[in-house]
């Protein structure tokens, strides 16, 4: 809407100040007024604290990189980072293998079965992570459900140690994050026209061929979105590793918590946070287009 281009017009008359297009749009001052609380709140209560935390990692006690040097030179920390990446990766793979069939079941036509599947996915999603981690403690404890059942049925003589191991953390995290894998895959399968697999079948492809040649490739956006979501959430997971993990199963998030609360080493916590943030945001920004958070949150 440039005024000058209008006056450039050969037959055009002199034009007054550009008039706003009114098609249902709010004016600039009103827009700014409406968005101001949102922006100010996020800036002050969210971005500023994170920025300051990251800043302390290089400014305390003086302008320094010692915190990062420590992170690199002490093998313990590299180990924690590697373990976190490994557990997140395993968790993503497990969630994908377990989640895809359920997503496919939910996307099928029919009333009862997909609905039951959807309820089974949504109820855990709406249940606090704390509660679900607690449930896994009940299951995996030495006196827990699984040990009791195994001992009573004579499969094992003495209870197994399952809690406070990598396996426990992995299992519980997969359980907690599984819905975030299922929902994006489900939504991409749902938007797939039913005619496509049918057309492929009509052209002579068998069930397996139809799946690998048509259904799977077309659901890949959902698969990528789910994997990214699960991986990034797993990287920063705090509650489940803190409750189910032992001292040997430290992950990045629990390490940050430990440094901050037990050792009161805020600058070092800031440095680890920086690594975690770079990992998470790096993943998200790299694969940004695959991640449609709004689709996961605002599914109808």
């Amino acid at each position: 809407m440039s005024v000058t281009t209008v006056t450039d017009l050969p037959a055009g008359p002199a034009v007054p100040a550009a008039a706003p297009a009114l098609r249902g749009r709010l004016s600039l001052p009103l827009s700014l007024l409406l968005v101001a609380p949102l922006v100010l709140l996020l800036a002050w209560a969210f971005f500023l604290p994170i920025g300051r935390l990251l800043l302390t990692s290089v400014t305390e006690p003086t302008l320094t990189l010692t915190n990062y040097r420590r992170l690199i030179t002490q093998p313990l920390y590299a180990e924690v980072i590697l373990r976190t990446v490994w557990i997140s990766f395993a968790c993503t793979a497990a969630a994908l293998l377990l989640g895809y069939p359920v997503a496919a079941l939910m996307a099928r036509p029919g009333r009862v079965v997909p609905k039951i599947a959807a309820v089974c996915v949504m109820v855990p999603l709406w249940t606090s992570v704390l509660v679900r981690s607690y449930a896994w403690i009940i299951l995996l404890d030495r006196k827990g459900v699984i040990n009791t059942l195994l001992v009573q049925s004579g499969v094992i003589a003495k209870p197994l140690t399952m809690l406070y191991t990598d396996g426990a953390v992995l299992m519980a995290m997969t359980h907690v994050l599984l819905p975030f894998m299922i929902l994006p895959i489900y939504s991409s399968l749902r938007s797939l026209p039913v005619d496509l697999p049918r057309a492929a079948a009509n052209l002579g492809a068998g069930r397996v061929r139809v799946f690998f040649a048509v259904t799977l490739p077309l659901s890949l956006p959902g698969v990528f979105a789910g994997c990214l979501l699960v991986f990034v959430m797993a990287l920063g997971f705090y509650v489940t590793p803190a409750l189910l993990g032992g001292p040997q199963t430290l992950m990045i998030a629990t390490l940050i918590g430990q440094q901050a609360t037990e050792l009161l080493d805020w600058p070092f916590a800031g440095a680890i946070s920086c690594v975690l943030l770079v990992l998470s945001l790096g993943m998200v920004i790299t694969f940004k287009r695959l991640l449609r958070l709004d689709r996961v949150v605002a599914h109808d």
Partner: protein, 381 residues
């Protein structure tokens, strides 16, 4: 020069109880970046008149309407309703009703509540409001549906609700943007008649956007043809059909053969052209202003119903020789498609009852027409 006095319309409008107001559009411009949506349009609509804005997609019809409704601002020019300058008036203060293409009915309100909306906004008392709603519902024959939600109505019924909602506050001017665009052909034709009758009864001024030229010709007192944001011709339907101002209008309104050729001779207004290995005649278009001279390129426009066909006799005949390519039965008329000697296609509509025995695809024919039935426009295609 393009503006003719709407004498007939004014007379008719005077006969009805005119509650409408005149609308003035003068030298209105609107550009979007490099696109000129409306380029200096001037148009005066008389009180109670029904004027259609007709033009191809992107010709600026909606933009012009949006400016009248106040949802767009002209970058220059003036808009008036009656004596009032509304160029800078807020949309909700204009008192100019609009019927939207997709109706824009409020889905959470019943039919009656939808119709009540403009009355509530004008703080009209309950008794008066209910009476007016009843009258409006009666006018569009929707009394039985008053309690329903828009989603529970058919397309035609929704259209009527939109109409009732627009007329209930007795606006002096009603704008409609392809109000029948979403209806099927049968219902559209039916609604065209109803709309027109309603407008007569109300005496309101209507500015009606359509890209359906048949609709514009049937309903309007005058039609304004827009192309690339410019008003190219304004006149009663018949004038547009018989005296198109330029080749665009000629082509756009109704069926038209537009044959490119070269001027051979001018005798007063009578122009003789060489077209595709034959000779064609026509009257110089009124605004061709001496641009037609021997040797210049030109196009002759002739309607299919004015073309006469005879079987070629071998002897020299005046007209355009060609070969009958196809015969398409259309009911009352039959379209004969002729491939002229140079390859151009020409259509002739012949009354199905008149016998053209012996003609079949492949027959050599000669096409001709009365000079007064064709117009010659200067310039190549």
């Amino acid at each position: 020069m393009l503006r003719e006095r709407p004498a007939a319309a004014a007379a008719r409008a005077a006969a009805a109880t005119v509650s409408g107001l005149a609308v003035g559009i003068s030298e209105v411009w609107r550009r979007y970046g490099p696109v000129t949506a409306v380029a200096g349009v001037s148009l005066d609509v008389a009180a109670g008149e029904f004027v259609s804005l007709l033009g191809p997609s992107g010709s600026g019809k909606t933009t012009l309407l949006m400016m009248l409704a106040g949802f767009e601002q002209p970058q220059s020019g003036r808009l008036t309703v009656g004596e009032r300058d509304i160029t800078r008036v807020a949309p909700n203060k204009r008192n100019v009703a609009m019927v939207f293409q997709r109706y824009a009915l409020f889905p959470h309100m019943t039919v009656a509540e939808n119709i009540a909306f403009p009355l509530r906004m004008r703080r009209i008392g309950r008794a008066e409001r209910e009476a007016r709603i009843r009258r409006a519902l009666d006018m569009v024959k929707l009394e039985a549906q008053a309690g329903r939600k828009p989603a529970e109505l058919s397309g035609g019924q929704q259209q009527r609700v939109a109409l009732a909602r627009a007329i209930v506050f007795e606006p002096p001017v009603i704008l409609m943007d392809e109000p029948l665009g979403a209806l099927d052909k049968k219902l559209r034709q039916h609604m065209q008649i109803e709309l027109k009758q309603l407008q007569r009864r109300l005496g309101a001024t209507v500015i009606y956007v359509t890209h359906d030229q048949e609709e514009a010709l049937t309903m309007s007192d005058r039609v304004a043809v827009l192309n690339h944001g410019k008003l190219v011709q304004l006149g009663p339907p018949r004038a547009l059909y018989d005296q198109p101002a330029d080749a665009f209008v000629a082509d756009f309104i109704g069926e038209m053969n537009l044959l490119p050729g070269t001027v051979r001779a001018m005798t007063g207004e009578l122009c003789t052209l060489a077209v595709d290995g034959g000779t064609a005649v026509g009257m110089a278009a009124s605004n061709s202003d001496g641009q037609l001279a021997s040797g210049k390129p030109a196009r002759v426009a002739v309607r299919p119903e004015h073309v006469e066909l005879v079987a070629a006799s071998g002897a020299a005949q005046d007209g355009l020789p060609g070969q009958l390519a196809e015969i398409v039965f259309n009911g009352a008329t039959t379209a004969m498609l002729v491939e002229l000697a140079g390859g151009t296609m020409l259509r002739a509509d012949i009354s199905t009852r008149s016998s053209l025995a012996g003609l079949h695809p492949g027959s050599p024919v000669v096409a001709s027409w009365a000079a007064g039935a064709a117009l010659v426009f200067p310039g190549a295609a």
